[in-house]
Symmetry: C2
């Protein structure tokens, strides 16, 4: 319940004060703090469940939607997963202090880059209280101070999580601040204040837009995820069906789920009948252009403005195109730059797609659902960025750092 007591400038000053200490902590110390935090979460389970019960009851009383209630809910299993997630961050390699690309210049000085923490990170998120410890652990491991501002529907749960953090001895004051999410003015004031190095919004389109408009510091975000898959005339059609079904149905509510399928005209009649049967068996509504409708039964006519919609649901738009160039043009016009895939057995088709399509992730013969920090080997993920400056794509520990140039000389001057 911190925000009631301290103002945004005080919150930021506390974080800034902690930042140099956090930056200088050894990996061993950070790992033992993470272990202590995991233990504190397990020890705090009863009070956490009590606080969460009250939040859930209050949300129910307000008539909150079922899906939102589920996001808000903590169970003993979810609390254990939260603790285990924090502990696992201790196992990840520490990105801080690595020195890269050192070269010796003609004048004899050595020039390289050292990886260092970003400084102070503000995370703004919605209902899901598990984001709190997830983000706290990643920021701490990367040597950053973090300010966490969750949704007001979770305020009692967040209060209990704040008490858990306070119970971790050895954590520098200001290193992890879990704010009381009462009142909207506080967020805007925080976003407009100086002294924050990065803002990460995690939530829906509206939250992200509000943050982008108000923030003074850089914001790492992805706006919407309208992912495309292009099935080339040289595709393995069985593989294509497997990839489309997985990308659309494995978890349709997330940003890397497939929204639009583009099919190369010569194989539309071969691919679509079986594929659309398989999709409809899994409850997917398929909306297609005239050629997709002609190729297979059960295709609902696509609206004029069908393309570029983010369904986040069991709906797929299908369009038949005459060439890869037409598919690329469609993606340039309707894509959101998150992830696009091609299915093909022909090297030249893959090469052209990889070079020409400019999304945060471009895949050949793989499901868009694989665009994810853990799947890419980053160990964990704090979000996916579709921005072009700063980290692009899944953001892990390394993406929560920056670099500084270091120069080792022996008296070199500029001539």
């Amino acid at each position: 319940m911190k925000e009631a007591l301290v103002s945004p400038p005080e919150i930021i000053a506390a974080a800034r004060g902690a930042a140099p200490t956090l930056a200088s902590l050894s990996t061993a110390v950070k790992n033992s703090l993470l272990a202590a935090l995991a233990d504190a979460i397990r020890a705090g389970r009863p009070s956490l469940l009590r606080a969460n019960d009250q939040d859930v009851a209050a949300a129910e009383a307000r008539g909150t939607r079922r899906a939102l209630l589920d996001r808000l809910l903590l169970t003993p299993a979810r609390i254990e997963a939260m603790a285990e997630g924090v502990r696992r961050v201790a196992d990840l390699p520490d990105p801080v202090g690595a020195i890269m690309g050192t070269t010796r210049r003609p004048n004899g000085m050595q020039v390289g880059r050292m990886r260092v923490p970003l400084g102070v990170i503000l995370v703004i998120y919605e209902a899901r209280p598990t984001v709190t410890m997830d983000a706290a652990a990643l920021c701490l491991k990367a040597g950053n101070a973090v300010i966490l501002r969750g949704g007001s529907e979770a305020r009692r749960t967040l209060g209990a999580l704040g008490d858990i953090v306070t119970a971790v001895s050895g954590l520098p004051p200001g290193a992890v601040q879990i704010l009381n999410p009462e009142g909207h003015a506080g967020v805007l004031e925080l976003l407009r204040a100086e002294g924050i190095d990065l803002v990460i919004p995690r939530g829906g389109e509206e939250l992200i837009r509000t943050v982008v408009e108000a923030a003074r510091a850089p914001v790492l975000k992805h706006a919407r995820g309208v992912c495309h898959m292009f099935v080339d005339r040289f595709a393995d059609l069985e593989m294509a069906q497997r990839l489309v079904v997985n990308a659309k149905t494995q978890r349709p509510s997330v940003c890397n789920a497939l929204e639009t399928l583009l099919v190369d005209a010569p194989i539309a009649g071969l691919l679509l009948p079986g594929l659309i049967d398989a999709l409809r068996e899994r409850g997917v509504e398929v909306r297609g252009d005239a050629r997709a409708q002609a190729a297979a039964p059960g295709v609902v006519p696509a609206a004029e403005d069908e393309w570029g919609r983010e369904y986040l649901d069991l709906i797929l738009a299908v369009r038949v195109v005459d060439s890869q160039e037409e598919a690329q043009a469609h993606i340039r016009r309707h894509g959101t730059g998150l992830a696009e895939a091609i299915v093909t057995e022909r090297l030249e088709s893959a090469r052209r797609f990889l070079e020409a399509v400019d999304s945060a992730a471009v895949l050949v013969n793989a499901s868009t659902r694989l665009v994810d920090g853990a799947e890419f080997g980053l160990g964990a993920e704090i979000g996916i960025s579709t921005d072009r400056i700063g980290p692009r794509g899944p953001m892990g520990l390394e993406e929560l750092t920056t670099t500084k140039w270091i120069v080792l000389g022996s008296g070199q001057i500029r001539e």
Copy 2:
């Protein structure tokens, strides 16, 4: 004279239209375009000198300061240097298309990152017309479309440069747009428009502030360069004198020149008398705290608010500190995060300084004047960034690109 004819949205649409073509150009084609641009600059010398004469005469008539007149002035030698600079960019390695850090994941898919152009870059600068071709060549080599908006005092020169660009056959329309700098509203409208990926302001503090406040796209900038050098008690005093004199006097008007010297108390009496003589011989005014004044004659008393000033002139502030920690605290409080150096022969002193001081460049036993793209081996430099997100420090060709993740699979799905 483009801006009179086309609006900011049209300018941006032209650049966006050129971007995919530029991104797909081979290195050989880009290099031949750069060679053609260099030739066109040489061929355009007479009209360039004529236009520049008129700009300089008009500026003189308005009573413009001598230093500004010199920045505006083109001579045959400067035009030759401009052409040669463009030609040399052709010799630099092409950063686009490189694939880095590819790993094979447990499911067999290969994941890596490919370097790709940023897209559309807007460069806003003041009097110096040579920035135009410099920036155009670097953006072109990195595969970006560039919009160049110079100062109004150079408008005839910029018009002649625009004619030169138009004369280069094979350059995609919209790839390099040199705007007519008449009217301030145009800049703000450009900065607020959508479709620009990066803004680079090159000029004084006021220009940078205006750009940061108005821009919708990310801005890469450094605000002020207040560089510090700390001479440790274990320094080679002869080296320290050489480094301080070079960093302060080799070119005092630029951002990586030394502004504040911090001297470890035990060696103040040994270092300062000779050093201050050497500085004063070169016309430097030395302003010091009480202990610096006591250590050597000829030190002017520092004002209470002396620290953190960016002189850009033959003035140096000197403070005696009791420890490296005190020097670090001074730098944290008064530094601008551009470049700080330590002079020491002791490894442990160097190690602590390198780890704790968080500037874009941290140097051991080298002049701050060496913080420069060419000196660091980047080949060329479009600016120095002190931002923490995106490239930090000197920005060369690679810093004008971004990366995208690429995935090569064989039918992998998310389980």
